[in-house]
């Protein structure tokens, strides 16, 4: 019984956590520069908090004190604006109840299972354990796969430490929370011509098609999914029009893309892809883009600098230029590998059916609306991300026929976060017609 109650405690503490530092009603009343919905403010708060946690992860800071400080400040604001929160709660009662229910449903699977999947146990748990037991960043050196980025493990340890039962699996519930919050934030983008129940069914379909319990077993894919989702959401919101006259949107995008560097190794390349999308498609002046680029280079330099200090260098599983790079010059061999990778791409789309809906949405929107006139960044993203996945699997020194079935589907799933919103556009189009 206590485990079930702890799931609910975790939900409410995550909710309170994501109301800090930017309280929606406070901002709305005094400084409404960024016109975002309530759930978008929650997403933004999570981005800010994860950046704060990233900084804290390099210092010996007590995780409990940080958590209680955040909780107390956030709760104070909630109490101050309790009437507004109550009104918001009442207005969206079915959605709130749905959020809680699905969170419980997915959490109960994680808690019931309790165990970790292969990479979770072999790669990521050790880092989380170090932070949970009071260790610091320097204590990561010497662990299995110590050169892997640590942010996901740090946040895992943070919520593990601050869960009521302090059991490892309660730390992983934040993956469920950020995943659900991402998709639920799309609720406000669904056409008002739909009934509330219809809107909930649409959200449920997206949640169901994107859920893979295996990936909650200690993998970082849902964190990457969340980052991609936030990037596309805020990019679409702020950078496809010329109206914004302040620099907050740029700061938001930089904060989002910074996180991806510290979650997984391939985050380095995702970071470059997201930057390219900004540089090509953002409706900003050359000067703005130049400053953005400088900031991005500073973030990469910080990553390289820190990795150099603690682990000798910024390492990847394989060298970027390796003997396999030159073997690919043999065309027969190259086409064979492309065939294998394409085959597992296809299998991944079936394994994660959200991709089938995304591809269907893109096709329908392309031929039945002017959606892509203003959203060309989606095409650029598809080309870059698919190109990147092909390149890493062409360049790996491992046997691609062995590696692709194990890892390709996870990468394909994680990058789908960027494109989830196109499904809503499809539903809206159907309703309009």
């Amino acid at each position: 019984m206590i485990e079930i109650l702890t799931i609910f405690f975790s939900f409410f503490s995550l909710l309170i956590f994501s109301n800090f530092p930017l309280n929606y009603f406070f901002i709305k009343k005094y400084q409404y520069i960024l016109k975002l919905t309530y759930t978008e403010y929650l997403l933004l708060n999570l981005i800010i908090n994860f950046n704060i946690l990233l900084i804290f992860s390099f210092f010996p800071i007590n995780l409990k004190i940080v958590f209680f400080l955040i909780l107390i400040i956030s709760l104070s604001f909630i109490i101050i604006f309790k009437n507004d929160f109550w009104k918001l709660f009442k207005e969206n009662l079915p959605l709130n109840f749905f959020f809680l229910l699905v969170f419980y449903a997915l959490s109960s699977v994680i808690v019931k299972n309790g165990y970790l999947e292969w990479d979770g146990l072999s790669h990521w748990l050790h880092k989380a354990t170090v932070y949970f037991q009071g260790g610091g960043y320097s204590d990561l050196a010497g662990l299995p796969f110590d050169y892997y980025p640590h942010l996901g493990s740090y946040v895992w340890a943070f919520f593990w430490k601050n869960s009521y039962l302090q059991a490892e699996y309660f730390g992983r519930l934040f993956f469920i929370f950020i995943f659900l919050l991402s998709i639920i934030s799309l609720y406000s983008k669904i056409s008002n011509k739909f009934l509330v129940l219809e809107k909930l069914i649409i959200i449920f379909i997206l949640v169901y098609l994107s859920t893979n319990i295996f990936l909650f077993g200690g993998y970082q894919e849902y964190f990457i999914f969340f980052i991609f989702f936030c990037f596309s959401n805020f990019f679409k919101k702020f950078f496809l029009e010329d109206k914004i006259s302040n620099y907050y949107p740029e700061l938001i995008l930089i904060s989002i893309s910074n996180l991806i560097l510290w979650i997984k190794q391939e985050g380095f390349f995702y970071f470059i892809i997201l930057n390219i999308i900004f540089l090509i498609h953002a409706k900003r002046t050359i000067l703005n883009k130049f400053v953005f680029l400088i900031f991005s280079l500073i973030l990469i330099s910080i990553l390289i600098y820190i990795k150099n200090i603690y682990f000798g260098s910024l390492r990847f599983n394989h060298d970027i230029i390796n003997p396999e790079t030159f073997r690919n010059l043999d065309l027969y061999y190259l086409f064979f590998k492309i065939f294998i990778i394409s085959k597992y791409f296809f299998i991944s789309f079936i394994k994660y059916p959200i991709w089938l809906v995304i591809l269907l949405s893109i096709t329908v929107l392309k031929f039945n609306s002017k959606f892509f006139k203003n959203n060309k960044f989606i095409i650029t993203y598809l080309i870059l991300i698919f190109g990147f996945i092909y390149l890493i699997f062409l360049n790996t020194t491992e046997d691609v026929a062995w590696l692709a079935p194990l890892t390709l589907n996870r990468i394909v799933f994680a990058v789908s976060g960027f494109l989830i919103f196109v499904n809503i556009e499809l539903f809206n189009l159907i309703k309009e017609k």
Partner: protein, 139 residues
């Protein structure tokens, strides 16, 4: 929860038909994610029982055997290294203590066959505990 319940009750009285639709939808959501069964299992079995049933005693990750050895033989909670010969990761991560040393003179072997054991015997390891194809060996 109580406030939520009272509000829902009030709503039920006002908009009966719509509320029933929502309730059916929510039950379907719970059913799709198997929440009723999961809740039942959570109420019935404690953490250890669930872990051993999922991860195996000597099969799979060998969680049960490793835990027994760790409790019985780990001096001062030092990290015992496990080698898993099954197609599964080693369970030692669950018991890892970052500030303790690794015990290099002992090994937990999960799913080891006789040839493997002979090899370790040749390296001067002695069998301290053996259950099925799981071994705790020490130099």
């Amino acid at each position: 929860m109580l406030v939520c319940f009272l509000y829902i009750k009030k709503k039920i009285m006002i908009k009966n038909y719509t509320t029933i639709n929502f309730i059916i939808f929510f039950i379907v959501v719970m059913f799709v994610f198997d929440s009723f069964t999961n809740t039942y299992i959570l109420l019935r079995d404690n953490y250890d029982k669930r872990m051993t049933s999922h991860l195996g005693y000597c099969e799979n990750q060998g969680y049960g055997f490793y835990k027994k050895v760790y409790k019985k033989f780990s001096i001062n909670h030092q990290n015992l290294i496990a080698i898993n010969f099954n197609d599964a990761p080693s369970p030692d991560g669950y018991f890892f203590k970052y500030d303790k040393k690794n015990e290099f003179n002992s090994l937990v072997l999960i799913g080891a066959n006789k040839k493997v054991i002979e090899d370790y015997k040749n390296k001067k390891f002695k069998i301290i505990l053996n259950e099925d194809n799981c071994y705790f060996i020490k130099k």
